[in-house]
Symmetry: C2
Subunit: 252 residues, 2 copies
DNA sequence: TTTTAAAGTGTTATTTTTACACAATAATAT
DNA sequence: ATATTATTGTGTAAAAATAACACTTTAAAA
C-alpha cells in the first residue's frame, strides 16, 4: 500500500500534467463555430428546404439556413445538442431527427471573419410541424432551382446535403417522416420520385414496398379525390426498429 | 450614372454593415479546432491504421491519431489544406488523398479543455509510402482488436472511420491504392476480404472485377511463390476516370 | 347512367447473384 | 526426370432480383 506522501506527489504530478495540457490547448488558435440546419420538407409533391431571411444586413435580400453559433464556451453543449437547440429556437420544433453531414470551413465563407460551420440535416413533414407563428421570416423554398438568393456558402451546403439525402433515403426509411401518418402508395411513390428525381414503375414500386413488410393496411381510403381513392397505409416503425434486416436497400 | 457623393455614401454604408457583421462574429464564443487523420494501410493481409505515440504527458502510454490544430487564425488555411499539411508534417507524405468524414465535439473529449476535431480519412499502400525516418514514434496498428491504448476519443473516431471506409470501398475503387502497382487477383481479393471482414467466392470475385473492365493484364506473372504464380494486373485509372459508369457498385 | 381519372393487379423476360468442382501450372523436393 | 505441392484459372446451372408491360376496378363528378 502506498503511503500518503507518495499519493500526494502523484496527485501533484497529475495536476501539473493537466495544467500543461491546458496550456497547450490554450496556445491553439480559436475560431467561432456555427451549426446550420438543412431542414428538408415535402409538400405539394415537391421537396422543399426551410430557409430564414438572413439576419445580417449585408445579406438583407438573401435567404439563409437555420443557423447560429454553437455554445462552445461552456462545457455543456455537445454539437448535436447545439443543432437541436438552434432548430428549436428558430422554428419551435423539437421532435425531429438531425444528422451531421459535413463541416464547412473555407476561410472566406463568412463576411464577418473566419467562421466554421457544421451542417446538420433533417427531413420532416411540413404539415405536421407548425412553424412558430411569430416567424414569418421563415419560408419553405423549392429545392429545385435554388439560385443565388442564398447567403454565405449556403447554396453549396444545401447541394451537399441534398446529395447526402438522396443516398440516405435509399438505405434508410427516412421518407416516411415526410408523409402524413396515413398515406397512399401514390403519395409514397411521389415522394421518392421527387426526391430522387426519377420516374418509377407503379407496379414494381408497390411490389418492392410490400415485400419489405413494414406497411400496415389501415383499411381506410383517402378522401377528397375526384376518382377512385387509394388505400391508406402506415409505416410500422415498431416492427422496423426490431427487425434484423431493416431495409431492403431500395435501388431504383 | 451615380455621382460621387452617392457612391461614397454607399461605400460607407457597406463598410459599416461589414463592421457590424464582424462585430457579431466577434461576439461568438471561440474554440480550438484540430484535424485528425485516420490513415489506413494494408500489409501482410491485414488492415492497419497509422498511429503516433501521444505527445501529451497525460497520455504518455497511449497512441493517438495524426493530428494537430488547424490554423484558423490566419485566413489562409482551408480545412482540407490543414489535413494535408498535418499529414505531411507528421509523416512526410504528400501524395495521398484525404476525405473529411466527421466532426467530433463532445465537450469532454480533450483533457486540456474544449477542442473540436475534424476527422479525415485516407487509405494507402504501406510499402509505397516510406514514413519519415526520424519518426520512430509512428506505428502501424492492426485495426482489428484496437483497444484502450488509444488517447482521447480516438477509438470512437477510428471506429466511425472504419465504418465509413467499408461503405466507401464498395462504391469507389479505393482498394487499388493499397496494392502494389501490379497485383494478382488473389491479392485484390485478400484486400477486400480483410477490409470487409468477409469471405468471398474466388470465381465470382474474378467475374465481377473482370466485368468492370478496368483491369489490365500486364502479361507478367507474380514471382516468389512456391506454386503456380498468378497473373499480374494493373488498375486502369485513366479509363476509370473517363468512364461514365464508373464502378459497378460491388456488393458482396 | 355515363364519364373520368387514378387504383389495383400478374406475368414474362432479363439481369444479377450465388453455389459449386476439376484441370492446368510453376516451383520445389526427391 | 519425376512426383509432389499449393494455388491458379475456368464454366454452368439454379435462384433471386429487377425491369418491362396493359387491362380491369372503383369512387366521384357530371
Amino acid at each position: 500500500m502506498k503511503n500518503e506522501s507518495v499519493l500526494t506527489e502523484e496527485i501533484q504530478v497529475k495536476s501539473s500534467v493537466i495544467n500543461d495540457t491546458k496550456k497547450l490547448v490554450d496556445s491553439y488558435p480559436r475560431v467561432p463555430i456555427t451549426v446550420d440546419c438543412v431542414v428538408f420538407g415535402f409538400d405539394e409533391n415537391e421537396l422543399k428546404v426551410l430557409l430564414i431571411r438572413s439576419d445580417l444586413e449585408i445579406y438583407k435580400d438573401k435567404w439563409s439556413l437555420l443557423g447560429d453559433f454553437a455554445d462552445v464556451a461552456g462545457e455543456a453543449e455537445d454539437l448535436d445538442a447545439a443543432a437541436y437547440r438552434i432548430l428549436k429556437h428558430r422554428t419551435g420544433m423539437d421532435d425531429v431527427f438531425l444528422e451531421q453531414v459535413k463541416t464547412f470551413g473555407h476561410p472566406n465563407r463568412h463576411p464577418g471573419g473566419r467562421v466554421i460551420t457544421i451542417a446538420y440535416c433533417s427531413l420532416l413533414n411540413i404539415k405536421h410541424h407548425q412553424l412558430k407563428v411569430m416567424d414569418n421570416e421563415l419560408h419553405w423554398h423549392s429545392v429545385q432551382g435554388l439560385g443565388d438568393e442564398l447567403a454565405f456558402d449556403h447554396k453549396i451546403i444545401i447541394d451537399e446535403c441534398y446529395d447526402w439525402l438522396k443516398k440516405r433515403i435509399l438505405e434508410h426509411p427516412l421518407g416516411f417522416n415526410l408523409l402524413p401518418e396515413k398515406f397512399s402508395l401514390r403519395e409514397l411513390q411521389n415522394l421518392y420520385e421527387s426526391i430522387l428525381n426519377v420516374k418509377m414503375d407503379r407496379r414494381n414500386f408497390r411490389k418492392k414496398f410490400f415485400a419489405m413488410d413494414f406497411l400496415i393496411d389501415t383499411g381506410e381510403l383517402e378522401g377528397d379525390v375526384p376518382h377512385r381513392p387509394g388505400k391508406l397505409y402506415q409505416f410500422n416503425f415498431q416492427k422496423y426498429n426490431h427487425s434484423k434486416k431493416k431495409w431492403n436497400g431500395i435501388d431504383f
